[in-house]
């Protein structure tokens, strides 16, 4: 056979495996759920949850013992701010605390009786802020609003005291240095914008691993000997099995990942700065790495339900290891080492930098290189485990064949033994 024919034959076999796998995927409702329904619905659900991005109008209670013009000005300014709403007034701190306890408000502004007296005596006036620390975002809103209002009131008092002549002089004496704050890449400080890209990328990896694992489990259970690899002339080489199966999932996930990385961010107008060429350059190695990772994992589990137990619980730790919610520089070294085993770590970082921060391919070259290395390594691992599975199923086939032959011989023997007596 010429080399051309060999290649053609190889392609033919791989295509058969591909078709067979696809049919299996479409027939198994568990796989369908994880490979089609979850990637379609979950991003929408998560985007909806985080759609409001930030919180506004956090309710607070005010304990105003000062009852002065200055204290009322402070309360009015806080109430007018975007993040805080003065929901109630309380007589004393105990009263206010019971409101926090009943979850009516999230914090307390306490203005002591001598607040205005201090200010008028040209001493520091102190306002106490009590925050419910169960929620970091409400704490930040309550505290930062109080800080901003106190600074603004302070500036007004400063200009009054300075005895300046012009507006410019007032400005200079209140703030000699003009400070500009620029929040880059996520200017509104939105929670969804920060977390969602990571969630989207993680969904791709987790559903792929779950889908492949479930499909492998089903194949094992359908098989008479509990083998992963069926006995069929097309399933005789490791490479063609691995590539055939991988092509099936790549086909499904080419569509899914386009939807996840391009369509969903546009639906909910999350930041999307990367052109499609850059995303393609990232997603190609990421998908390959994920598919081969899933295939490697799928060979390690015996029952198909066990893959759910294994993969689901790692989702949350993996999200933390990507460095989205907890800064990468603060992750201990050995955990960083563990995180290098999973494609999601590099996939999420690369996607964030390309799509949310508008980086170029050169900026994520390290991540891309790691993803290609992972894809190659997991391809090798998948080949190894599938080679093992192939040998096991061939051994089973031979045992069965030997058993059948033996049976036939025994039957023949019995026939020859019994026939003379008759």
């Amino acid at each position: 056979m010429s080399i051309f024919h060999k290649i053609l034959h190889w392609l033919d076999d791989a295509a058969y495996v591909w078709r067979h796998e696809l049919r299996q995927v479409l027939r198994d409702e568990g796989v369908l759920l994880f490979c089609i329904v979850v990637p379609l619905v979950y991003p929408l659900l998560y985007s909806w949850i985080y759609n409001n991005e930030t919180i506004h109008e956090v309710p607070v209670v005010v304990v105003d013992l000062s009852h002065s013009q200055q204290s009322r000005q402070f309360i009015r300014m806080c109430d007018a701010s975007a993040d805080v709403r003065v929901a109630c007034y309380a007589e004393d701190l105990d009263d206010a605390q019971s409101l926090v306890s009943r979850q009516v408000v999230k914090g307390i502004y306490y203005i002591p009786a001598d607040f205005a007296t201090h200010l008028n005596r040209m001493e520091q006036g102190v306002i106490s802020v009590y925050c419910d620390m169960a929620l970091m975002l409400t704490y930040k809103a309550i505290y930062q609003t109080a800080m901003a209002v106190s600074q603004q009131m302070g500036a007004q008092i400063q200009t009054r005291l300075s005895g300046n002549y012009t507006a410019r002089e007032d400005l200079v004496s209140a703030s000699p240095l003009d400070v500009e704050e620029v929040a880059m890449f996520n200017p509104q400080g939105g929670y969804g914008t920060a977390v969602l890209p990571a969630v989207l990328m993680l969904i791709i990896q987790q559903t792929l691993a779950l889908g492949i694992g479930l499909a492998a489990g089903t194949a094992r259970e359908r098989n008479r000997y509990g083998d992963l690899v069926p006995i069929h002339p097309c399933y005789k080489g490791i490479n063609r099995i691995v590539w055939g199966k991988a092509l099936c999932y790549l086909m499904v996930y080419a569509v899914m990942s386009t939807y996840l990385t391009i369509v969903v961010p546009r639906f909910f107008s999350f930041i999307h700065m990367a052109p499609w060429q850059n995303l393609l350059a990232l997603m190609a190695p990421y998908l390959l790495a994920c598919v081969f990772f899933g295939m490697t994992v799928s060979c390690l589990v015996r029952y198909r339900e066990n893959v759910i137990l294994l993969m689901v619980f790692v989702s949350l730790p993996l999200l933390f290891l990507t460095g989205v919610s907890w800064p990468q520089s603060a992750i201990p070294g050995y955990l960083q080492g563990v995180s290098w085993l999973f494609p999601s770590t590099f996939g999420v970082r690369g996607y964030l930098r390309l799509n949310s921060m508008g980086g170029s391919i050169g900026d994520v070259s390290f991540e891309l290189r790691c993803l290609w290395i992972q894809a190659a390594a997991y391809f090798g691992a998948a080949c190894l485990v599938y080679g093992h599975q192939l040998r096991v199923s061939q051994r089973h086939a031979q045992e069965r064949l030997a058993y059948l032959r033996k049976k036939r011989e025994v039957r023949k023997l019995l026939k020859t033994k019994t026939s003379p007596s008759v």
Binding site: Y46, I127, E181, I308, F313, L335
Partner: protein, 375 residues
């Protein structure tokens, strides 16, 4: 029933994986607050004033000046390459303009792509810029002969006295490990309770199992879940002991509340798992639903992004998630130490989740007796 514990997957999911998760979160967040995060500087001014401010920034606990860049474009590039989280920019002539009261502009840039890192770096950069501003006023006033108290009062007439109730260090470990680890535990309990019923069906032992309990499904279920709940209770009590006693997480509520919370957590999750299996007596569907539900509950618990910030349909949806009620009960009674009556709704909800299997026991019995497992 105890023979069932021979399957290695039970051991893995009930002991090994939960322990790994506990260890993972508590070590990952061990420092409590991120420290020494890399920031950069673009100092075109390069005077003793700007250098003093940069030294001060480096001295802060959570910031570490790792690099100086020649231009803003270069610093932005470094941010895109994930080398720094933010940078401070002094334009040329800042000090000159400052001394001649021409009000120069100083900017700080930070990346909010990682929210925790962004807000920490922002806080430091903001403080430094304010200090720079105050330093001028301070020097002028000192030259004019004001007392330190007078200077302090002039620079900051209204002072905010912050009280961070129950977590004065704003320790992220106390804030995340107390919700996410129980969440993962709940996930395991959902899955294991659905899995153990499903395996009976799959390996066709259902009739035998019912026969052991003399055909009484309630006795059968109780018998099946007693050993499991004992293992989970022991595990979670160990975790609570570890975080509150060894790691010294603060809790204003008493140990009685902690015990109550743990017991409710275990029984509500197992109840929920059985209920889902009862609704869909198929191993793979019930486990898939349990896992999807469990993963969603981390977002809908509302511990990171508050429920009050979500749309109202989602707000009502959160009631269906046991972790949400667990979190509310935890933060009201254990974390803040408020009276239990203020969390009565969530207490009732968790008890309700425990009793949910009541509605489906007949269906489970029916399934065990008649259903045949189809792969």
């Amino acid at each position: 029933m105890k023979i069932l514990k021979m399957n290695p997957i039970y051991f893995c999911c009930m002991v090994v994986f939960p322990l790994l998760t506990m260890l993972f979160f508590t070590t990952l967040l061990d420092s409590g607050v991120p420290q020494e995060m890399p920031v950069g500087v673009v100092d075109l001014d390069n005077t003793s004033t700007s250098r003093a401010l940069i030294r001060r920034l480096d001295g802060f606990q959570s910031s570490h000046v790792v690099a100086r860049y020649a231009s803003v474009a270069e610093a932005r590039h470094a941010m895109q390459e994930n080398e720094i989280y933010g940078f401070l920019y002094f334009p040329k002539g800042t000090t000159d303009n400052l001394l001649s009261a021409r009000r120069p502009k100083v900017s700080y840039y930070y990346s909010n792509v990682s929210l925790a890192a962004g807000s920490m770096v922002m806080k430091d950069l903001k403080t430094i810029s304010t200090l720079g501003s105050a330093a001028v006023g301070q020097a002028t006033m000192r030259a004019k002969g004001f007392t330190p108290e007078q200077i302090q009062t002039f620079l900051q007439p209204v002072r905010i006295d912050l009280h961070q109730v129950a977590n004065p260090w704003s320790n992220y470990n106390m804030y995340l490990s107390t919700v996410f680890v129980p969440g993962v535990m709940m996930l395991f309990m959902f899955l294991i309770s659905a899995y153990s019923l499903g395996m009976e069906l799959k390996s066709d032992r259902g009739k035998e199992w019912l026969a052991k309990a003399d055909g009484n499904i309630i006795v059968a279920i109780l018998g099946k879940y007693v050993p499991q709940s004992i293992v989970f209770l022991a595990l979670i009590f160990f975790y609570e002991f570890y975080i509150y006693h060894v790691l010294q997480f603060s809790h204003l509520g008493s140990w009685g509340y902690i015990v109550l919370l743990v017991v409710l957590q275990v029984f509500a999750s197992i109840g929920f798992g059985i209920f889902i299996f009862g609704l869909m007596p198929s191993l793979r569907m019930s486990m898939s639903i349990c896992s999807l539900w469990g993963v969603l509950s981390f977002s809908l618990a509302g511990s990171a992004f508050p429920v009050m910030g979500m749309d109202s349909p989602i707000q009502s949806l959160t009631w269906l998630f046991p972790l949400r009620h667990y979190y509310m009960l935890y933060q009201i009674t254990v974390f803040n130490g408020y009276p239990l009556i203020d969390a009565w709704f969530h207490l009732v909800a968790l008890v309700g989740f425990t009793l949910l299997p009541w509605f489906v026991v007949r269906k489970i019995k029916n399934a065990m007796l008649t259903y045949v497992y189809i792969p």
